[in-house]
Symmetry: C2
Subunit: 619 residues, 2 copies
């Protein structure tokens, strides 16, 4: 067996983001982690005297977890603090088991040669007491506001708080049937949205390390990142650092798509150290258990895999239960057939046995397992289009209708559900996907991959898909699954992961703006004000990627002084459009005259100054 390189705490990125510090907002029962970006003063000159006006710090939603809090001692071998454990046990509806339930988990435990790569501080899992249901959906429908819901309300709200005194008018957004809250988000609103099935809180009782978050179209649009090793590459250490790295830049959930060696042990390391919900595609591991022979898959093997992963703490499962035998022939004439890995595994099984998809026939049993741990469904779109030519075809929409049918069954069990969506879709066909999903799946949250709006740019599919993601997010998709530049070509490295995350944060935020989310535009306003006032450091620190913004600026004007200079690096010192408008406004304040009049005087005076001092004025 290849010697695994184990994660070392030294290899993990820890420092806070540039200009930021971790802050904690105290609620009734919870303490919510946020990121605060400190800003410099606005400097202006009135009658030649320097006037400083402070700018309020900007707090932003923070997915980076304890890693960016220097006060927290991180030990990957111990795992993150178990934030939610007390909330879970206080509900008195779970038992701490003496051992793992899954045969496979115990088999792996028994193999001493794996001790070297096993997570050290393994704890036995929690499970619902007999006859109890521990899903957030169940609590919500009972009218119970959980600490998780309170945490989320505070977390989603920060932007609104911080927005106080934000500049400029808000444009009314268009949310296409989404109910964008007008006021602050309350814990009761969170409960109502979960109870209605319009939002989910992926929160496995065995992943207490995760900070609660919500996926629903009346909240901030979220993004998912994918990591995972494969036969061809990667180690446990790389995967854990990729997980921490993707959270650092804004990943709201993380899918572990490992298909290589030691999937079970790798997953343990990731979950114990992951501050966001973790999703998986259990059929991938089940396939490994039958040596890649899809036709050898059985319900029993799959069932054991679900329990194995549920007891490790996976927060949501992608289940391709909508790939029905009768739909498969609908893909035979496609340009790109079946491109979903899970979809093709199940298609292969169905056809090999001439039987209906066992995930479909055993769906209620799956629900029974998931509600005992509060694992959420991510109903997979195994027949999603793999090319523009196959978009919105009969196979895709047939499966979507079945996913709607399965949603109702899951809800009958109070199990939380989101629906996965395409794929490759040209812009003019995107909205039809959203409309059909809302109609067929009774407003269960939509979770889409892209969609990619053209097939002709391999190497840039974070961009081809970022376009579609922003649009479908605006139309109502609750979570966007990121695509990296390596899509279709290879496995993402750290740079690819960051490029994918930042691109999708852009898409998600653009969607929040378009939906008129009251907590969205204040950050744009704060950054634009900083840009306009030449507060370069503030502009960098308010951006999604301060490091890259600063680096790009320094390529043209490296000098430290340039970051204090009152001109843009584009036009140079001699002339700057922003400077002009700024001078005009400064003069206006000084004389307190009406706009038109003022501006005239201002420019006349300025032109005299120019005559006297020329370019010097700007240096």
């Amino acid at each position: 067996m290849k010697q695994e390189k184990l994660p070392s705490s030294q290899a993990i990125t820890r420092e806070p983001l540039s200009g930021s510090r971790k802050v904690y907002v105290q609620g009734e029962r919870v303490r919510v982690a946020m990121r605060e970006i400190e800003l410099g003063d606005t400097v202006s000159f009135v009658n030649g005297k320097e006037v400083r006006q402070p700018n309020a710090a900007v707090t932003v939603y923070d997915t980076s977890g304890p890693y960016t809090d220097p006060a927290v001692d991180i030990d990957l071998k111990k795992g993150l603090p178990r934030l939610r454990e007390a909330w879970i046990t206080e509900r008195e509806d779970v038992d701490r088991l003496d051992a793992f339930t899954s045969a496979y988990a115990n088999e792996r435990l028994a193999r001493t040669e794996l001790d070297t790569l096993r997570f050290e501080h393994l704890t036995t899992p929690y499970r619902a007491k007999a006859g109890r249901n521990v899903t957030q959906l169940h609590y919500a429908r009972q009218g119970i506001i959980t600490p998780e819901m309170e945490y989320i309300a505070i977390r989603e709200n920060q932007r609104i708080e911080a927005q106080k005194g934000a500049l400029a008018h808000q444009h009314p957004g268009q949310s296409f049937g989404a109910r964008t809250p007008n006021g602050p988000i309350t814990a009761e609103f969170v409960r109502q949205e979960v109870a209605a099935g319009r939002a989910i809180i992926p929160a496995n009782i065995n992943h207490p390390e995760a900070e609660p978050m919500i996926i629903g179209r009346n909240f901030l649009v979220k993004i998912n990142t994918n990591i995972g090793n494969s036969v061809v590459s990667s180690s446990i250490e790389e995967e854990v650092e990729k997980a921490v790295w993707s959270c650092r830049w804004g990943g709201d959930t993380l899918m572990d798509l490992s298909t290589g060696k030691n999937i079970h042990e790798t997953r343990e390391w990731i979950i114990r150290n992951c501050p966001v919900p973790v999703g998986t595609v259990p059929i991938y591991q089940a396939l490994e258990k039958v040596n890649g022979k899809a036709e050898d898959l059985t319900w029993e093997i799959f069932r054991d895999t679900l329990i194995e992963q549920a007891e490790q703490g996976v927060d949501y499962f992608t289940i391709h239960a909508g790939v029905l035998l009768r739909y498969i022939p609908l893909t035979a004439r496609r340009v790109t057939g079946i491109v979903s890995r899970g979809g093709s595994i199940l298609a292969k099984w169905c056809l090999a046995h001439h039987k209906e998809n066992f995930l479909y026939t055993h769906f209620e049993e799956i629900c029974e397992i998931m509600k005992a741990y509060d694992v959420s469904f991510s109903l997979g779109d195994g027949l999603r289009p793999g090319s523009i030519a196959d978009a919105n075809d009969a196979a895709q929409f047939a499966e979507l209708e079945t996913l709607g049918e399965l949603t109702k069954i899951a809800w009958k069990h109070d199990v939380q559900v989101m629906i996965e969506g395409p794929g490759h879709v040209p812009m003019h066909l995107i909205k039809e996907n959203m409309d059909k999903q809302l109609a067929h799946c009774d407003e269960a949250p939509f979770y889409t991959l892209g969609p990619l709006t053209t097939d002709i740019a391999p190497g840039y599919d974070h961009i081809t898909s970022g376009i579609g993601a922003a649009m479908i997010g605006w139309f109502g998709t609750a979570m966007l699954c990121y695509v990296t530049p390596k899509e279709h070509l290879g496995l993402p490295n750290k740079k690819d992961v960051k490029d994918g995350v930042i691109t999708y944060k852009i898409a998600a935020h653009a969607a929040d703006l378009a939906k008129g989310h009251p907590g969205a535009q204040y950050r744009d306003n704060a950054l634009s004000k900083a840009r306009f006032e030449f507060r370069w450091e503030d502009q960098f620190n308010l951006s999604l990627d301060p490091d890259t913004a600063r680096e790009f600026h320094d390529e043209t004007l490296p000098a430290e002084g340039a970051k204090l200079a009152h001109f843009c690096s584009m036009c140079g010192p001699h002339f700057c459009s922003m400077k002009i408008t700024q001078d005009v406004r400064a003069y206006a304040e000084e004389h307190g005259l009406g706009d038109e009049e003022v501006l005239g005087h201002a420019m006349l005076e300025k032109s005299r100054e120019f005559a006297e001092q020329g370019g010097e004025l700007y240096l």
Copy 2:
């Protein structure tokens, strides 16, 4: 004076794009340059025997000019072949002047210290004979089909020709009032669109080197790239290579925004060696002539600058004639005031003199100059929003209405016009921009910068704006002005230029697909078919950036053999979803049975094969 580094032919990128060769399509009077991408055979196995089916080469629209034709001898000091010169002189409506008309041009010529950096083979300019109008709009309205129009018809059509036998159904696009042609584009259709003012052909009689192209929403969406030196950086050699480089990757037009030293000589080098139309913002150079003092600008200086640049061959001028005195106060309360450089120059002039914008008051004289050389208007949006907060405000739309008024005046003179658009606009406010532009400007082509859909990602504004560009292109914008990753931060280097161009090619193509342009989807289909059939080299060569696609693939699977392997680099050899569907289809062809039945048999047989050979089957 800093010693200029002159362009050397060695420094210019010349080799054809990967897998491509230059082809020429012969028309009645013209020979049209296109790029042909050669494809490999589709290999399948029937009864164990290898069957090869050839794939037709794919021809694509080619903006790279003679540089990518190894048969053409390139000498930057001589400039490109003067493709259009014969067509221009045959019309017998132009005179070849004995000398340059502009005082400034002659003054520069007289300065012997500039000889070292002057373009060597200067020729005296052409100008319309007294009383003649040499614009393509004038010819179109006379019912004349020019060689330029014929060239464009063939050029825009290639995709449709190549589309023969393309796979899969076309989705009806949504063109929001654009009249997407159903059949092949004819030269007469080109003439009609130009005559109606819905499209322009930027084609200065003094830039015969440029290959004719059209900007209009019933044609392929085009992209513009900006280059230009500034006080803070860059040399003539860099600028010429940047121009060639941007054309290589797909730039349809090029704007020279130089504001540094030797603007006149730099522009000469660029135009003589540029295979696409060149645009400028004459007010930038005029400002340099008055040492950056906007209030010292005069109509006479500006007029001489227009003639200077028109006689060098600039194909379109950005003219900020819509920045009226009464609109300026509307910007004083904005978050980011006036961010357009041209707009703020004119605002400053207007306020300094308390006079109306001299570009507005002298607009008819400007038309007289432009029709003597066929320079097109790009009516500038000097009051465009510089932040989300300022989008779609009173100042922006007031100016747009004035641009509509000016459009009618230009058309009275048979001068071609396009309209510049924003800027920073959230997604839900984008369509209003397009609708108002069509209404106020009588369908004159819209030419937009982005728009950027959020302000919070400096360093990634090619992406924040690529989202908006794709959408507004779908809504009907005819040309998209690219934004590079350096926007707001610094001056683009070659990598930034390429990133900007590829991102905007993606946006333009996504828009063509959404509009249902009959010449768009065949390339997606060809690439997806290659992807599905594991023709890696074809997938790379059909992509917008073959070099990057190949490089990314090789990072994961470097071996040459991997490019022939029948599996994706993501899943590895053991399991591949595409492979499964492909096997199914192969089996179907082999037995010629009905889908459902076939697929069943196929998988049963496959499972036997797997049992015998296991993973080997895929290796």
